[in-house]
């Protein structure tokens, strides 16, 4: 467990550096201003990863991480003002760019599999994605309008 925690910390920190670089170049937030927020996010992720290993439930780590992050940022949670202020220095896109950079590099090794699929599968898959996305948006639109939220 301890070995895993140390390795996770390293990987999260490497990723954190990539995100801080993106945040700096893309959103003009100086890295040292974003460090406290990044440390909070890394700590939350680490606790979530540990909970996944330690607890007997079959919930993936992201489940614990999401809930934990929501709780510590609720208005009535002690210190949540700091959590929100620090993490607001990190743009969501600054985290998305390194994910997709690494994803692009990693996808290369699946390229052979992908080419085997054929054009027909490609068409169906596009329709699957479009169908889900538009279907969900339509339902959300109807309900949100009906409730008067938008």
């Amino acid at each position: 467990m301890l070995k895993s925690v140390i390795e996770w910390t390293w990987v999260l920190c490497i990723f954190g550096v990539a995100a801080l670089i993106g945040n700096w170049f893309g959103m003009d937030v100086l890295p040292w201003e974003a460090i406290p927020g990044m440390l909070v996010l890394i700590a939350v992720s680490l606790v979530g990863l540990m909970l996944e290993k330690a607890l007997p439930f079959s919930m993936p780590a992201v489940g614990y991480i999401g809930i934990l992050a929501i709780i510590i940022s609720l208005p009535w949670f002690p210190g949540s003002d700091y959590v929100v202020a620090w993490t607001s220095q990190i743009g969501i896109l600054a985290l998305a760019t390194p994910i997709l950079a690494y994803a692009g590099i990693s996808v290369g090794s699946n390229w052979a599999d992908f080419r085997k699929l054929g054009f027909r599968s490609f068409l169906v898959a596009i329709t699957v994605f479009l169908g889900t996305f538009i279907g969900s948006a339509l339902i959300a639109e109807v309900i949100l309008r009906w409730q008067g939220i938008i």
Binding site: F15, I21, L41, I71, S73, V84, A96, G104, I150
Partner: protein
């Protein structure tokens, strides 16, 4: 995640240096928008980063080993993304609860794929593959369900893998492109698309909601909160939704379509697929 040793991943400095440079260059370029009819296609740094990364795989700079080592970075990077989404949801908890009914019901939007994509798959000549392909958007839990029920090398298994691979390779990029375009070209509200962005994959949600933020920066907090809440909901309920509604409905619809085409074939000796 345990497939590759994390220690070797951490020490893969060539990979990290390349990723840092990719991020710096693409973020420095910034975003562009291309007008398409009434809508806008947003080109975001994350899209350049994806395609530059993919391109580098075919150069000597990135080896097969580097590509394999990139995987844990994606998985752990997504945990940071989820943490960031969580701390954006917390302060907005009242708005989320108010939007609860819409959040819950838009999960039914997944059925859109069955009614839209299943007929197309059957029309294109797929048989039982089409059940695996179109019962859901084929994320990990859905692949698990199909493989569990029909086996990996069954037609259904091949079908679900085809969409899974498409999603893994192009899902984020595709949703990133169409979400910005649809939100600017259609009369639907960006917050409806924000909810639709939560399809149950962190990177797809980030890409889809990222484009929305690019187009509507003033709604950033709300877009992230709604997309994130919807994504958490999809992650936690998506599997059960497939088990009890998506898959049975797909199978039912498939057998109805097959019966009709068999009748036609019996009458007129239709094409042999």
């Amino acid at each position: 995640m345990e497939k590759v040793e994390l220690k070797t991943v951490i020490k893969d400095w060539r990979l990290h240096a390349i990723a840092f440079i990719l991020v710096a260059i693409t973020e420095a370029i910034g975003q562009f928008s291309i007008a398409v009819g009434p809508g806008v296609i947003l080109l975001l740094p994350m899209l350049y980063a994806f395609f530059l990364g993919l391109g580098l795989y075919f150069t000597p700079l990135i080896s097969e080993k580097n590509a394999k080592n990139a995987e844990p970075l994606i998985i752990l990077g997504v945990t940071l993304l989820i943490a960031k989404i969580g701390v954006t949801i917390g302060p907005q908890i009242e708005a989320i609860i108010a939007a609860g009914p819409a959040l819950l019901l838009q999960e039914l939007g997944n059925l859109g794929t069955i009614f839209l994509a299943l007929p197309l798959a059957v029309l294109l000549g797929f048989r039982r593959e089409s059940i695996g392909m179109t019962h859901s958007i084929a994320r990990e839990p859905n692949v698990g369900l199909i493989v569990n029920k029909f086996g990996f090398s069954s037609p259904e298994g091949r079908g679900v893998m085809a969409v899974y691979i498409f999603g893994t390779v192009f899902g984020a990029v595709f949703l990133g492109l169409i979400s910005g375009l649809l939100a600017t070209a259609t009369p639907l509200h960006p917050l409806s698309f924000a909810m639709a962005s939560g399809v149950g994959s962190g990177s797809m949600m980030a890409a889809a909601s990222g484009s929305l933020i690019g187009a509507y920066p003033e709604l950033e907090e709300q877009i992230v909160a709604f997309a994130g809440a919807s994504n958490l909901l999809s992650l936690s309920t998506g599997l059960y939704f497939s088990i009890f509604i998506g898959l049975p409905l797909t199978e039912k619809l498939y057998s109805i379509m097959m019966r009709r085409s068999e009748r036609k074939t019996a009458k007129g000796g239709g094409p042999n697929a």
